[in-house]
């Protein structure tokens, strides 16, 4: 696979670390938005190599983490129905709802299938016309085009047995919520490269201007992340709150117009609850009324399942960059990947899970 070795090249990484060290004159706090970036930072130990004043805080960009508990509970209720095949990406299967997870529903006889794409779920709907195929459509702008295309295709083919539980979330409103919170520490962002590959970065320009923060759409390999950091630090030191693209091999300013058109055609912006954070206005995508026939929550009448997040963990503070995972008293004791108390320990890309996996309780 091309690009793996190049973007993990230790010599390039060392040169970028030197560039960062030569630029930093003051302490700065930078948030990497995406859980994939958090994972890469911990996996390669990038945080250990930065100059002391430069602090990375971990953002809310982990789709599994921020999917609200009630969406999981609704999916579990639907998956338990005998006529349903529930299809989901792999890492949603282990996410605990209030009492259960999809793997346990499966062990009791629920038909739960792991798929790598919503189009595979669509294929299931074609192959099983006597069954209801429900796809758990979660994620940020990255997965929205594929999930939109599946609904569009189902409508075009008249596949009335295909529906989605839609719980899409949007990055810019979450960034605004973080910047607007009273305790905010974030001075610059590494924006999520794959989200920007779909959406471009035009919508980040007003945020950068309004809040005076530089925003750098950044990739996921060590050299990407270090180049993104070097860029954001240079902008901070120069007092330039601009949007500058690091992820040039994937991201254009206007994004991917075809993907954006598919999103706009099928989904409309709506208010959305974020697990661990709460309701953020206009921060999600829901199905447009003309696609209501493919809305699983209507079809199976689970809208009355409402679940409140237990107030036992600090994942909301972690998702906003206000705390780090190892500052939580439950970290690694009451809360582990086997028994997660909150959102950020749930997914392998969650900040708590990444800390637990790569850096738990050890002076390295």
């Amino acid at each position: 696979m091309k690009h793996l070795e190049e973007y993990r090249d230790p010599r390039l990484a060392r040169a970028l670390l030197d560039r960062i060290a030569a630029t930093v004159t003051r302490p700065w706090t930078v948030m990497e938005v995406c859980g994939g970036q958090t994972h890469a930072i911990m996996r390669h130990g990038i945080d250990q190599l930065l100059p002391p004043g430069l602090t990375l805080v971990h953002g809310p960009g982990c789709p599994v983490c921020v999917t609200p508990l009630e969406t999981i509970d609704r999916a579990l209720a639907i998956a338990a129905r005998p006529e349903v095949i529930l299809a989901s990406f792999g890492d949603m299967l282990r996410v605990p709802g209030s009492r259960d997870d999809l793997l346990r529903v499966k062990s009791r006889g629920g038909d739960v299938r792991m798929v790598a794409s919503p189009l595979e779920a669509l294929k299931l709907a074609r192959e099983h016309p006597d069954r209801e195929v429900v796809f758990l459509a979660v994620g940020f702008e990255t997965t929205a085009p594929g999930n939109a295309m599946a609904v569009k295709q189902a409508a075009a083919e008249g596949l009335t047995n295909f529906s989605e539980i839609v719980s899409h979330v949007l990055v810019p409103p979450a960034m605004e919520a973080i910047l607007g919170s009273p305790g905010n520490r974030v001075q610059g962002f590494l924006a999520a490269g794959h989200v920007c590959a779909v959406m471009g970065w035009r919508e980040y320009e007003p945020i950068a201007a309004k809040h005076g923060v530089p925003i750098v759409p950044t990739g996921f390999e060590p050299v990407d992340i270090l180049e993104g950091l070097a860029t954001v630090v240079e902008l901070l030191e120069a007092g330039r709150p601009a949007v500058v693209n690091q992820y040039r091999r994937a991201v254009r300013r206007e994004g991917n117009p075809a993907a954006r058109a598919a999103i706009d055609e099928v989904f409309a912006v709506c208010d959305r609850k974020w697990r661990g954070i709460g309701l953020i206005p206009r921060s999600g995508l829901g199905l447009r009324p003309e696609f209501a026939a493919h809305d699983a929550e209507r079809k199976f009448d689970v809208g009355d399942i409402v679940t409140e997040e237990p107030a036992v963990c600090i994942s909301g503070l972690i998702l906003q960059g206000l705390k780090k995972p190892d500052q939580c008293p439950a970290f690694g004791t009451a809360c582990t990947p086997l028994h997660p108390l909150g959102a950020t320990m749930v997914s392998s890309e969650g900040a708590c899970a990444a800390y637990h996996r790569y850096a738990r309780g050890i002076e390295l």
């Binding site: 696979m1 793996l4 993990r8 230790p10 990484a13 060392r14 994939g36 911990m42 996996r43 390669h44 130990g45 990038i46 250990q48 190599l49 789709p63 599994v64 990406f89 792999g90 890492d91 949603m92 299967l93 282990r94 299938r113 792991m114 798929v115 790598a116 794409s117 595979e120 979660v138 994620g139 940020f140 990255t142 997965t143 794959h194 060590p222 990947p337 086997l338 997914s347 392998s348 890309e349 637990h356 996996r357 790569y358 850096a359 738990r360 050890i362 390295l364």
Partner: protein
């Protein structure tokens, strides 16, 4: 393939009557002929060389049953041969138990039996006793195979994770994750073709070679489920020592690395079926690696890390960028991520 009255496995093939006799006599026995088996008694009576016995059992339920680089039958022979061999024993005899699902094409069963015959020959072990059951459609997934194995540990050979000492070298016999990624990319539904092939192989020959070159080898293990990361964590815990890996030294084939990246899976946690990890005294490491590289199943042998007295019971890694991190035990099955 011998002509039988049916194309697929029938419940009657397991009922003990004429069909059972046909299946066993015409399809199975010709593949596993050995003096012990050919007696057709309810048990095998073995004459074994002197020494302590090593005994192991394993059950194989892999899906799909045929995958690039091997099949469930070859895996069932090699897997138990390797489990017996990792204590330094020479595997001698195997038992084979089949659970067949009604409706399994007999041609598929025959193909599996042929690859078991070939694998047993390559490993130099005899199948000395066996059993076949048939269950109704849906009660198993086409075919499950249990194999148990007996081996003899030569006098003076003593291996175990408890013998591992700080300063020892950790040697891996070749590339990581080939088997697990071959099976994962072959699974229905994943929908991408790939060139990744399973590494399934019997390693008893390689073990004998390592023991010849380095009689003081501390521990050997084949990193199957859970991968090399799990094996090393088991070693670290059992030995009460730390293990430090060098990320840059970990051998991964480019196509395997690509498949892992696409699925969001770490090759350190993926199953291998033809690799072993050897912990050897540091001064023997060079000779062991050189000897392993001369063996068909050790061509890619390399030192991947060392045993330390810091971070007891933990595995850590020096990353490609020179930072340090933990290599933890996996929680459960690795699941492909959303994005």
């Amino acid at each position: 393939m011998p002509i039988l009255d049916h194309d697929t496995v029938q419940l009657a093939h397991g009922a003990g009557g004429r069909l059972s006799a046909d299946l066993i006599g015409r399809l199975i026995l010709p593949r596993f002929t050995s003096p012990e088996l050919d007696r057709l008694e309810d048990q095998a009576v073995l004459d074994l060389p002197p020494g302590r016995l090593a005994f192991s059992t394993d059950t194989f339920v892999v899906s799909p049953i045929f995958f690039p680089g091997g099949d469930i039958g070859e895996l069932a022979i090699n897997g138990t041969v390797n489990d017996v061999a990792m204590c330094g024993a020479g595997p001698v005899a195997l038992s084979v138990g089949f659970v067949l699902e009604e409706g399994l094409p007999l041609a598929d069963f025959h193909r599996i039996l042929c690859s078991m015959e070939a694998a047993a020959k390559r490993a130099g072990v005899r199948v000395v006793t066996g059993d076949t059951k048939v269950v109704g459609r849906g009660a198993c997934d086409r075919i499950f195979i249990n194999t148990s194995g007996l081996g003899v540990v030569p006098a003076g050979v003593e291996l175990g994770a408890g013998l591992i000492r700080p300063g020892d070298a950790v040697v891996l016999s070749g590339t990581l994750a080939d088997h697990g990624m071959a099976v994962m990319t072959a699974r229905e539904g994943l929908g991408f073709s790939s060139t990744v092939r399973s590494d399934t192989a019997a390693l008893n020959g390689l073990v004998r070679l390592i023991l010849d070159v380095c009689p003081g080898v501390r521990a050997l293990r084949d990193p199957t489920r859970g991968g090399v990361a799990t094996t090393l964590n088991e070693f670290a815990c059992a030995g009460g020592v730390g293990i430090v890996l060098e990320e840059a030294s970990l051998p991964v084939r480019p196509d395997v690395r690509g498949a892992c990246e696409i699925l969001g899976i770490d090759p350190l946690y993926v199953a291998n079926e033809g690799k072993l990890v050897a912990v050897v005294p540091a001064d023997a490491a060079e000779a062991v690696v050189a000897a392993m590289r001369g063996h068909e199943h050790g061509r890619g042998a390399v030192v991947i890390g060392k045993v330390t007295d810091e971070h007891a019971s933990r595995v850590t890694m020096i990353t490609g960028l020179g930072a340090r991190r933990i290599v933890d035990m996996p929680v459960g099955e690795q699941l492909p991520r959303i994005c």
